[in-house]
């Protein structure tokens, strides 16, 4: 590879600064959008630079490939429903990891060619190359499995089979041996096998993770891809790749820990908890224990004559696309003089912050969205809590049942309110696959049906009072 001219290095430096500012911007509500655009600008500039200094062959095919990728990425990103955001991010992350692994494989091929002639390739490059191939492949296949879990193409429950820990451990050891082989002598076939092993390890890594924890794993794989790109940057001796990849790797790891903390879980518990057999999981089937259900009219009266109502929205609300109907209902109740707030659990929806995105989409005023710590003291003075399509985040088992997979997760203290109304489609448990005792408590009323349908009927009934 030819030496990089100084101007190109300086532009890359500016792009690296751009990525730092982008991350900084993304972590504040007012600056987030600008931050994202700064990041996009820096990325585009960085990718244009090599066309001006690197004396590239095949410029036309490369530009065509970029055009194809742009079309796929932009259309996918525009079409995706906000509810399907987590799996889309997983997919984008996976293809990035895959690209990094392919780049490293090609570099290995070049090293192999050089090694025949001079046998003087720096071991550190080869270590980085092996790392990129392995972790890039893990990130790719792991992301595909998270996508399948969230899209419900496969079961979202932990998949464990008896030989799994052995298979994972064995695969990991084999990968280390292969990486050692690559370092001692760069051979392409070893790289290809390493990539295949990485693909298998990625699948084995994500299979035992339960549905509710999958978003944390997406964040972790995102950090993996960042580190992969950083290692790729070292292999290619390119500063902007190294810096950008490391920034994402570090911030992604930190973000993963923050998210896991918000759910009261540790990352190792999320990844390996199911393997230890430490969690007892519910049957995932509907229970036939008696519950109290009511008609929309009954619930409308309950709501209309309450002084204080708190709405707990969950993923079920978003799936039914009922955010707009819910906002209308809350507005009508507000006009009647009822005080209504939304209680947003940090992991409501499928990813931390996901519910805020979904409600913002429905034009719910930002001030009505109360975070968990802010609102948890208020349930005691609340007449009615309306739980719409949420389950795990209000399940008292998180406080009381040490064997539950969600044990230790901070929850909304809905059980302290005078009345609790659940809008549910069926008695099926939530994403974590465990039964919610709150459903059988005396203060609880259930309104069965599709969330949008039920909310529509509630709205009509409240208006009619």
């Amino acid at each position: 590879m030819e030496a990089m001219p100084t101007w190109a290095e300086l532009v890359f430096l500016l792009c690296a600064v751009g990525f730092i500012l982008a991350l900084k911007g993304l972590s504040g509500p007012r600056t987030a959008r600008v931050g994202n655009l700064v990041g996009a600008g820096a990325a585009v500039v960085a990718c244009v630079v090599p066309f001006f200094y690197a004396d590239l062959d095949h410029v036309v095919p490369i530009l065509l490939a970029v055009a194809v990728g742009t079309a796929i990425g932009a259309v996918g990103a525009q079409r995706v429903q906000m509810t399907q955001m987590p799996q889309m991010v997983a997919l984008f992350n996976g293809v990035g990891g895959g690209a990094a692994a392919l780049v490293a494989l090609l570099e290995l091929k070049d090293f192999a060619a050089v090694a025949d002639l001079v046998s003087d390739v720096d071991a550190a490059y080869l270590v980085a190359t092996g790392f990129t191939i392995l972790v890039g492949a893990v990130s790719f296949s792991g992301s595909v499995v998270t996508f399948a879990k969230l899209q419900e193409l496969m079961t979202s429950r932990p998949v464990v089979f008896p030989g799994l820990p052995v298979a994972f451990g064995g695969g990991f050891l084999a990968a280390l041996v292969l990486a050692g082989l690559i370092v001692s002598e760069p051979v392409v076939w070893a790289g290809v096998v390493l990539a295949l092993l990485g693909l298998a390890l990625g699948v084995l890594l994500v299979l035992p993770v339960g549905g509710a924890d999958v978003p944390i794993v997406i964040s972790l794989l995102n950090a993996f891809t960042g580190l992969t790109v950083a290692a790729g940057g070292y292999v290619l001796q390119n500063t902007v790749l190294l810096v950008a990849g490391t920034l994402v790797g570090a911030s992604g790891t930190f973000l993963t820990l923050l998210m896991a903390g918000a759910m009261g879980r540790s990352v190792s518990n999320i990844l390996f908890g199911a393997l230890k057999g430490g969690s007892t999981l519910g049957s995932g089937e509907a229970s036939d224990r008696p519950v109290r259900s009511a008609s929309p009219e009954d619930v409308a009266i309950l709501l209309a004559y309450a002084e204080k109502v708190i709405v707990v929205p969950g993923y079920g609300l978003a799936v039914a696309q009922a955010q707009h109907t819910l906002r209308e209902l809350v507005e009508v109740l507000g006009e009647r003089g009822t005080e209504v707030d939304y209680a947003i659990h940090p992991v409501a929806g499928r990813m931390p912050g996901h519910m805020n995105v979904l409600l913002a989409e429905a034009q719910v005023p930002y001030e009505q969205l109360k975070e968990m710590d802010e609102i948890n003291g208020e349930f005691r003075q609340t007449d009615v809590v309306l739980v719409v399509g949420a389950n795990d985040v209000v399940n008292p088992a998180a406080r009381t049942t040490p064997s539950a997979p969600i044990y230790g997760m901070p929850i909304l203290d809905v059980d302290e309110a005078r009345q609790v109304v659940f809008l549910k489609r069926s008695m099926r448990p939530g994403f974590a696959g465990i039964e919610n005792e709150l459903l059988f408590e005396p203060q609880t009323t259930l309104l069965f049906g599709d969330a949008k349908d039920s909310l529509g009927k509630l709205l009509a009934a409240v208006k009619g009072l």
Binding site: L26, A43, S251
Partner: protein, 98 residues
């Protein structure tokens, strides 16, 4: 300074910067931040372009595949993040986008 040590220096400093810049993020923004960071590592496109520009035959095909994948990561990532963030920055009670 040894060249490899220089690279190690870049790496270690970037780790600290990466953690520092996002340390005060509120949980509301976790999803967009993850998505935005995800888009940033799409910069591997730069690496894919460099490799594709010096490859031939089968290697070129692989490199072009890497270019496509990396572009999907980068473009898709930034667009999807912008779509999410667009919803946070609506004017109060203003015009509504469909």
């Amino acid at each position: 300074m040894n060249n490899d040590v220089t690279w190690l220096t870049y790496f270690v400093l970037s780790v600290f910067v990466g953690i520092e810049v996002i340390s005060k993020v509120s949980s509301t923004l976790h999803t967009p931040l993850m998505s935005g960071a995800n888009a940033i590592h799409g910069i591997i496109l730069l690496g894919a372009i460099l490799v594709a520009g010096h490859a031939d035959g089968f290697a070129l095909a692989i490199a072009l595949l890497a270019v496509v994948l990396a572009t999907v990561n980068m473009v898709g990532g930034f667009v999807v993040t912008d779509r999410m963030l667009q919803m946070f920055t609506r004017k109060p009670r203003g015009k509504v986008k469909p």
